[in-house]
Every structure is written in C-alpha cells, then in structure tokens.
C-alpha cells in the first residue's frame, strides 16, 4: 500500500464500556493492521480496564469485545504497553489482565506475551519515539 513504514501508537485511556472510545479504537487498529505499519498500543488511566479478564456485558446489553484483544496477534499487532502506575492506582495487577499472546515467527513460533508492563516514565519514552499517535 505504501513504502513508508511509520510507527503508529494507539493510546487507550478510557474504560471499555462507559463510552465508545475503546470499541472504535479497536476498529481503527484492525483496519490499520492491513497497512503494514509498525503498530503499538498503549493502555493507561482507565484504559487498563479494557484488558481485564472475565468481562461480562450481558446485563448492560453491550457487545463484549474483549476477546478481540486476544486476536490482535493474528493481525501482527504484538506490542501492548500497559502502564504500571495506572494498574496500581486501580488496585489491579497483571493477573487481572487477559493472557494476550502472539507467535514469534523469528523464534520458531514460540508463544509470547504481547503485554509489556512499563512505568509512566517509560511510557513517555514510548510516546516520544512514535511518528503517529492516535489517542482514544
């Protein structure tokens, strides 16, 4: 599609179901995957709730799209940066998040975690390193 490869970061800051940001962010990520760019996702503030396991939306009548995060590896979206402080401030740990894995084709297709736990300071560095930051 294009010879230019840019670093795209999708920043997710909102809880999954109170507003539509998380869902429409995922739609951009899935479409964007077809463009063969260098894609990363960031989860901070209430955005960390998007990755929690055991989501059940039956009673609120909304579509549960949390399984889509586990499929991101199939779209070669394998870098999910999660901010440590945001987890801690909400009483969450990595154990509260889904297992999101990808197959590393450079390592005999070993299954590796897509989730990269980083500090707030490191998140600033990740952001500074991008060409295109889309915030949701």
């Amino acid at each position: 599609m294009s010879e230019t490869i840019k670093k795209f970061l999708y920043v997710n800051r909102k809880a999954p179901y109170g507003t539509i940001y998380a869902q429409e962010s995922l739609e951009v990520v899935l479409i964007g995957a077809a463009f063969d760019q260098d894609v990363s996702l960031a989860f901070l503030d209430d955005g960390v709730f998007q990755l929690t396991k055991g989501q059940d939306t039956k009673e609120i009548g909304l579509k549960n799209f949390s399984a889509t995060y586990r499929a991101l590896g199939d779209y070669e979206v394998t870098k999910l940066y999660v901010e440590k402080e945001s987890l801690e401030e909400r009483g969450l740990t990595l154990d509260d998040l889904q297992n999101i894995e990808y197959e590393d084709e450079d390592d005999d297709y070993a299954e590796k975690s897509s989730i990269r736990l980083i500090s707030r300071a490191e998140m600033a560095e990740v952001m500074a390193d991008q060409d295109v930051v889309l915030s949701f």
Partner: protein
Amino acid sequence: MKFGIVVSEGPYQHQASDSAYNFVKAALAKGHEVSRVFFYHDGVNVGTRLSIPPQDDRQIQEQWTALGKEHDLDLVICIAAAQRRGLLDENEAKRQGKDADNIAEGFRISGLGQLIEMGIQADRTITFGD
C-alpha cells in the same frame, strides 16, 4: 509542513471541532498544507447539513464547508462511525434503504483506511478530542 487532522468530538457539545477549525485556518494562512481532516467518533456529526444552531452562534458545519471550498480540503467522515450515528450520503441512504440523507456539501464519507493513510502521508497528525 503537511498536517493531517483528526476531529473526534461532536460539534457544540465539545470545543474540539472549533479548535480544529481555528488550527486549520491558521496553518493554511501560514502557508502550510492540510492533507485531510478526518472526522471520527461523535466528530462525524459536524458533517450533517440538518443542524440548525441559533443564529447568533457560530455555524460550525457551514464554517467547515466554506473553508473546505476555499482551500479544496478533503473533509472525510468515517463511514463506520457515521452509520452508527445516522450520517448518510445519497448513495449510502439508497444502499441501506433509508428515506433520507444528510451529509453537508464539501464532506465525503469513506473508510478508516483514510485515517491510516493520512497518518502515513502527513508530516504531523494532530487529534482534536477529549
């Protein structure tokens, strides 16, 4: 500098579309290029021609249409976000069996690929949102 602009909040409800409008106007006045303005989330509502703001208030849709015409801007409304929120052009209304369309002059409806393409092609992508 070539700018790509994202507007991701609705008109009047939020200042995002006003700030984007002012930014685009200022950037163009300084001789910069604006390759595309992409309307997403509730930002798609900027593109309805059926809004009737009070006469003593700014006319957001008309402002964008006029600026677009003056500078030949590519004003793109995301189709997925638009369908949820009832924004339709003539073709889409026909295709979906709806009895009306409401997209304003100067706007066009297209896919999310246009957002990614804008990010690839522009020197800077700027989001006006919440």
